[in-house]
Amino acid sequence: MFARGLKSLSIASVVLIVGAFALVFFYAPNDADQGFVQKIFYLHVPLAIVALCGFVAGGVFGIQFLRTGDRSHDLRSYVAIHISLILAVGALITGSIWAKASWGHWWVWDEPTLVSFLIVFLLYACYQPLRFAIEDPGRQARTAAVFSITAGAFVPLNFLAVRLAESFTHPRVLSATGGSMPGEMRLTFLVSLAGMAVMFVTLWKYELTSKQASMRLRALKRRLADEDDRWVPAGRSAAPQEL
Protein backbone atom coordinates (compact mmCIF):
# COMPACT_ATOMS: atom_id res chain seq x y z
CA MET A 1 0.00 0.00 0.00
CA PHE A 2 2.82 2.42 0.88
CA ALA A 3 5.45 1.20 -1.55
CA ARG A 4 3.96 2.94 -4.54
CA GLY A 5 6.42 5.37 -6.09
CA LEU A 6 9.18 4.49 -3.62
CA LYS A 7 11.72 3.66 -6.31
CA SER A 8 11.25 6.87 -8.30
CA LEU A 9 11.31 8.89 -5.07
CA SER A 10 14.62 7.42 -3.97
CA ILE A 11 16.19 8.23 -7.35
CA ALA A 12 14.85 11.79 -7.15
CA SER A 13 16.24 12.25 -3.64
CA VAL A 14 19.69 10.96 -4.66
CA VAL A 15 19.79 13.34 -7.63
CA LEU A 16 18.60 16.32 -5.60
CA ILE A 17 20.84 15.77 -2.55
CA VAL A 18 24.00 15.16 -4.60
CA GLY A 19 23.09 18.10 -6.86
CA ALA A 20 22.54 20.33 -3.84
CA PHE A 21 25.88 19.41 -2.26
CA ALA A 22 27.63 20.00 -5.58
CA LEU A 23 26.00 23.43 -5.87
CA VAL A 24 26.94 24.27 -2.30
CA PHE A 25 30.63 23.53 -2.75
CA PHE A 26 31.27 24.41 -6.38
CA TYR A 27 28.68 26.99 -7.37
CA ALA A 28 27.50 29.13 -4.48
CA PRO A 29 29.86 32.02 -3.72
CA ASN A 30 31.22 32.55 -0.21
CA ASP A 31 29.07 34.74 1.97
CA ALA A 32 30.21 38.38 2.32
CA ASP A 33 30.58 38.57 6.10
CA GLN A 34 30.43 34.92 7.20
CA GLY A 35 32.74 33.46 4.61
CA PHE A 36 33.00 29.69 4.24
CA VAL A 37 31.12 28.95 7.44
CA GLN A 38 27.92 29.99 5.73
CA LYS A 39 27.97 26.66 3.87
CA ILE A 40 26.57 24.94 6.97
CA PHE A 41 23.51 27.10 6.48
CA TYR A 42 22.51 25.08 3.38
CA LEU A 43 22.37 21.94 5.50
CA HIS A 44 21.19 23.21 8.89
CA VAL A 45 18.20 25.24 7.77
CA PRO A 46 16.67 22.66 5.37
CA LEU A 47 17.06 20.01 8.09
CA ALA A 48 15.23 22.26 10.55
CA ILE A 49 12.46 23.26 8.13
CA VAL A 50 11.81 19.68 6.94
CA ALA A 51 11.82 18.38 10.53
CA LEU A 52 9.27 21.03 11.53
CA CYS A 53 7.07 20.20 8.54
CA GLY A 54 7.36 16.54 9.52
CA PHE A 55 6.15 17.34 13.05
CA VAL A 56 3.21 19.35 11.74
CA ALA A 57 2.44 16.56 9.23
CA GLY A 58 2.41 14.16 12.19
CA GLY A 59 -0.27 16.38 13.73
CA VAL A 60 -2.30 16.38 10.52
CA PHE A 61 -2.20 12.57 10.35
CA GLY A 62 -3.22 12.59 14.01
CA ILE A 63 -6.32 14.61 13.12
CA GLN A 64 -7.17 12.25 10.29
CA PHE A 65 -6.77 9.25 12.57
CA LEU A 66 -9.15 10.71 15.17
CA ARG A 67 -11.67 11.58 12.47
CA THR A 68 -11.62 8.30 10.60
CA GLY A 69 -10.31 5.86 13.20
CA ASP A 70 -8.21 4.30 10.44
CA ARG A 71 -5.06 2.94 12.14
CA SER A 72 -2.88 3.50 9.06
CA HIS A 73 -3.05 7.25 9.78
CA ASP A 74 -1.69 6.51 13.23
CA LEU A 75 1.18 4.62 11.60
CA ARG A 76 1.82 7.53 9.18
CA SER A 77 1.82 9.97 12.09
CA TYR A 78 4.20 7.80 14.11
CA VAL A 79 6.70 7.37 11.25
CA ALA A 80 6.55 11.06 10.29
CA ILE A 81 7.36 12.16 13.85
CA HIS A 82 9.95 9.39 14.25
CA ILE A 83 11.94 10.55 11.19
CA SER A 84 11.47 14.24 12.03
CA LEU A 85 13.04 13.55 15.43
CA ILE A 86 16.13 12.11 13.76
CA LEU A 87 16.37 15.09 11.37
CA ALA A 88 15.82 17.43 14.34
CA VAL A 89 18.85 15.91 16.08
CA GLY A 90 20.81 16.67 12.91
CA ALA A 91 19.49 20.21 12.77
CA LEU A 92 20.42 20.87 16.42
CA ILE A 93 23.95 19.48 16.06
CA THR A 94 24.68 21.34 12.81
CA GLY A 95 23.12 24.43 14.41
CA SER A 96 25.49 24.29 17.35
CA ILE A 97 28.45 23.66 15.03
CA TRP A 98 27.43 26.74 13.07
CA ALA A 99 27.15 28.74 16.31
CA LYS A 100 30.62 27.57 17.37
CA ALA A 101 32.07 28.47 13.97
CA SER A 102 30.56 31.91 13.61
CA TRP A 103 30.14 33.11 17.22
CA GLY A 104 32.69 31.10 19.08
CA HIS A 105 30.57 29.04 21.51
CA TRP A 106 28.54 25.89 21.14
CA TRP A 107 25.16 27.36 22.06
CA VAL A 108 23.89 30.87 21.46
CA TRP A 109 20.66 32.15 22.96
CA ASP A 110 20.04 35.10 20.67
CA GLU A 111 19.31 33.05 17.55
CA PRO A 112 15.50 32.62 18.01
CA THR A 113 14.93 29.90 15.43
CA LEU A 114 17.60 27.71 17.03
CA VAL A 115 16.18 28.27 20.54
CA SER A 116 12.58 27.60 19.62
CA PHE A 117 13.68 24.57 17.63
CA LEU A 118 15.30 23.17 20.77
CA ILE A 119 12.02 23.64 22.70
CA VAL A 120 10.03 21.89 19.95
CA PHE A 121 12.56 19.06 19.99
CA LEU A 122 12.27 18.71 23.78
CA LEU A 123 8.51 18.42 23.44
CA TYR A 124 8.53 15.86 20.65
CA ALA A 125 11.18 13.82 22.43
CA CYS A 126 8.33 12.81 24.80
CA TYR A 127 6.41 11.17 21.93
CA GLN A 128 8.15 7.79 22.14
CA PRO A 129 8.09 7.51 25.98
CA LEU A 130 4.42 8.51 25.96
CA ARG A 131 3.55 5.80 23.45
CA PHE A 132 5.65 3.20 25.19
CA ALA A 133 3.96 3.88 28.53
CA ILE A 134 0.52 2.85 27.23
CA GLU A 135 -0.15 -0.85 26.55
CA ASP A 136 -3.61 -1.00 24.99
CA PRO A 137 -2.97 -0.35 21.26
CA GLY A 138 -6.29 1.46 20.73
CA ARG A 139 -5.72 3.83 23.63
CA GLN A 140 -2.05 4.24 22.67
CA ALA A 141 -3.00 5.36 19.16
CA ARG A 142 -5.66 7.80 20.39
CA THR A 143 -3.44 9.35 23.06
CA ALA A 144 -0.56 9.67 20.60
CA ALA A 145 -2.87 11.36 18.10
CA VAL A 146 -4.05 13.88 20.71
CA PHE A 147 -0.44 14.56 21.62
CA SER A 148 0.61 15.04 17.98
CA ILE A 149 -2.22 17.53 17.40
CA THR A 150 -1.44 19.50 20.57
CA ALA A 151 2.27 19.59 19.77
CA GLY A 152 1.50 20.55 16.15
CA ALA A 153 -0.47 23.56 17.35
CA PHE A 154 2.31 24.37 19.81
CA VAL A 155 5.04 24.78 17.13
CA PRO A 156 3.87 28.13 15.66
CA LEU A 157 2.98 29.52 19.09
CA ASN A 158 6.40 28.64 20.39
CA PHE A 159 8.15 30.33 17.47
CA LEU A 160 6.06 33.45 18.03
CA ALA A 161 6.83 33.67 21.75
CA VAL A 162 10.58 33.02 21.36
CA ARG A 163 10.92 35.39 18.41
CA LEU A 164 9.20 38.14 20.40
CA ALA A 165 11.40 37.46 23.42
CA GLU A 166 14.67 37.46 21.46
CA SER A 167 14.17 40.32 19.03
CA PHE A 168 13.33 42.46 22.03
CA THR A 169 16.90 42.23 23.23
CA HIS A 170 19.15 41.64 20.21
CA PRO A 171 18.76 42.17 16.44
CA ARG A 172 19.05 38.91 14.49
CA VAL A 173 22.35 38.15 12.79
CA LEU A 174 21.10 36.42 9.64
CA SER A 175 17.47 35.86 8.76
CA ALA A 176 17.12 32.07 8.44
CA THR A 177 14.65 32.29 5.60
CA GLY A 178 17.42 33.65 3.38
CA GLY A 179 15.19 36.30 1.94
CA SER A 180 18.04 38.69 1.26
CA MET A 181 20.39 36.22 -0.47
CA PRO A 182 21.83 36.84 -3.94
CA GLY A 183 20.63 34.66 -6.88
CA GLU A 184 23.16 31.82 -6.77
CA MET A 185 22.82 31.30 -3.04
CA ARG A 186 19.07 31.30 -3.21
CA LEU A 187 19.08 28.66 -5.97
CA THR A 188 21.45 26.45 -3.96
CA PHE A 189 19.32 26.85 -0.88
CA LEU A 190 16.13 25.95 -2.71
CA VAL A 191 17.70 22.87 -4.28
CA SER A 192 19.04 21.66 -0.93
CA LEU A 193 15.66 22.32 0.67
CA ALA A 194 13.91 20.35 -2.08
CA GLY A 195 16.48 17.56 -1.75
CA MET A 196 15.91 17.33 2.00
CA ALA A 197 12.13 17.31 1.59
CA VAL A 198 12.20 14.57 -1.05
CA MET A 199 14.60 12.56 1.09
CA PHE A 200 12.18 12.87 4.02
CA VAL A 201 9.28 11.55 1.97
CA THR A 202 11.44 8.70 0.68
CA LEU A 203 12.55 7.65 4.17
CA TRP A 204 8.97 8.02 5.36
CA LYS A 205 7.59 5.72 2.67
CA TYR A 206 10.51 3.36 3.18
CA GLU A 207 9.84 2.94 6.92
CA LEU A 208 6.07 2.69 6.36
CA THR A 209 6.58 -0.15 3.90
CA SER A 210 8.97 -1.91 6.22
CA LYS A 211 6.62 -1.58 9.21
CA GLN A 212 3.63 -2.78 7.22
CA ALA A 213 5.57 -5.78 5.97
CA SER A 214 6.60 -6.80 9.46
CA MET A 215 3.02 -6.37 10.70
CA ARG A 216 1.63 -8.56 7.94
CA LEU A 217 4.30 -11.13 8.58
CA ARG A 218 3.50 -11.23 12.30
CA ALA A 219 -0.21 -11.61 11.54
CA LEU A 220 0.64 -14.49 9.18
CA LYS A 221 2.84 -16.07 11.83
CA ARG A 222 0.05 -15.76 14.40
CA ARG A 223 -2.47 -17.34 12.06
CA LEU A 224 -0.15 -20.26 11.40
CA ALA A 225 0.82 -20.59 15.04
CA ASP A 226 -2.87 -20.52 16.06
CA GLU A 227 -3.43 -23.80 14.33
CA ASP A 228 -1.12 -25.64 16.71
CA ASP A 229 -1.91 -22.99 19.40
CA ARG A 230 1.67 -21.86 19.99
CA TRP A 231 0.66 -18.20 20.06
CA VAL A 232 3.51 -15.78 20.73
CA PRO A 233 2.35 -12.33 21.99
CA ALA A 234 4.05 -9.28 20.45
CA GLY A 235 6.53 -7.59 22.79
CA ARG A 236 5.54 -4.11 24.05
CA SER A 237 6.77 -1.28 21.86
CA ALA A 238 6.17 2.37 21.18
CA ALA A 239 5.49 1.66 17.52
CA PRO A 240 1.97 0.80 16.32
CA GLN A 241 1.60 -2.98 16.13
CA GLU A 242 -1.38 -3.52 13.90
CA LEU A 243 -3.34 -1.88 11.10
Binding site: G90, I97, L217, R218, A225
Partner: protein, 70 residues
Protein backbone atom coordinates in the same frame (compact mmCIF):
# COMPACT_ATOMS: atom_id res chain seq x y z
CA UNK B 1 46.54 21.06 7.62
CA UNK B 2 43.74 19.44 5.53
CA UNK B 3 44.64 18.86 1.91
CA UNK B 4 41.56 20.68 0.62
CA UNK B 5 41.92 24.49 0.21
CA UNK B 6 39.36 25.15 2.99
CA UNK B 7 39.76 28.45 4.83
CA UNK B 8 39.97 28.48 8.65
CA UNK B 9 36.27 27.63 9.13
CA UNK B 10 36.65 24.54 6.95
CA UNK B 11 36.75 21.90 9.71
CA UNK B 12 33.41 23.10 11.08
CA UNK B 13 31.69 22.88 7.73
CA UNK B 14 33.18 19.46 7.12
CA UNK B 15 32.06 18.39 10.61
CA UNK B 16 28.50 19.51 9.89
CA UNK B 17 28.23 17.53 6.69
CA UNK B 18 29.84 14.50 8.36
CA UNK B 19 27.20 14.68 11.08
CA UNK B 20 24.53 14.63 8.40
CA UNK B 21 26.18 11.62 6.78
CA UNK B 22 26.45 9.87 10.17
CA UNK B 23 22.73 10.42 10.81
CA UNK B 24 21.77 8.90 7.50
CA UNK B 25 23.99 5.89 8.11
CA UNK B 26 22.54 5.44 11.62
CA UNK B 27 19.09 5.44 10.07
CA UNK B 28 20.19 2.84 7.52
CA UNK B 29 21.50 0.72 10.42
CA UNK B 30 18.12 0.99 12.23
CA UNK B 31 16.29 -0.12 9.11
CA UNK B 32 18.81 -2.92 8.59
CA UNK B 33 18.08 -4.35 12.04
CA UNK B 34 14.37 -4.24 11.19
CA UNK B 35 15.07 -6.09 7.96
CA UNK B 36 16.90 -8.83 9.91
CA UNK B 37 13.85 -9.25 12.14
CA UNK B 38 11.58 -9.51 9.10
CA UNK B 39 13.89 -12.14 7.58
CA UNK B 40 13.83 -14.15 10.83
CA UNK B 41 10.01 -13.99 10.97
CA UNK B 42 9.90 -15.12 7.36
CA UNK B 43 12.00 -18.19 8.18
CA UNK B 44 9.70 -19.01 11.09
CA UNK B 45 6.67 -18.77 8.84
CA UNK B 46 8.30 -21.01 6.27
CA UNK B 47 9.19 -23.55 8.93
CA UNK B 48 5.63 -23.45 10.33
CA UNK B 49 4.19 -24.12 6.90
CA UNK B 50 6.51 -27.07 6.34
CA UNK B 51 5.57 -28.56 9.71
CA UNK B 52 1.90 -28.05 8.95
CA UNK B 53 2.27 -29.74 5.55
CA UNK B 54 3.99 -32.71 7.20
CA UNK B 55 1.15 -33.11 9.71
CA UNK B 56 -1.33 -32.67 6.81
CA UNK B 57 0.39 -35.23 4.60
CA UNK B 58 0.84 -37.53 7.65
CA UNK B 59 -2.90 -37.38 8.39
CA UNK B 60 -3.72 -37.73 4.70
CA UNK B 61 -1.96 -41.17 4.52
CA UNK B 62 -4.36 -42.74 7.04
CA UNK B 63 -7.45 -41.30 5.36
CA UNK B 64 -6.07 -41.39 1.85
CA UNK B 65 -9.47 -41.85 0.20
CA UNK B 66 -10.91 -38.70 1.76
CA UNK B 67 -9.83 -35.46 -0.09
CA UNK B 68 -8.23 -32.86 2.18
CA UNK B 69 -10.49 -29.76 2.19
CA UNK B 70 -7.77 -27.19 1.44
Amino acid sequence: MPALPLDDAGPYVAAAYLVFLALILIYVAIMASKLVRIARDLDEVAELIERRDETRSGAADESAEQPVPR
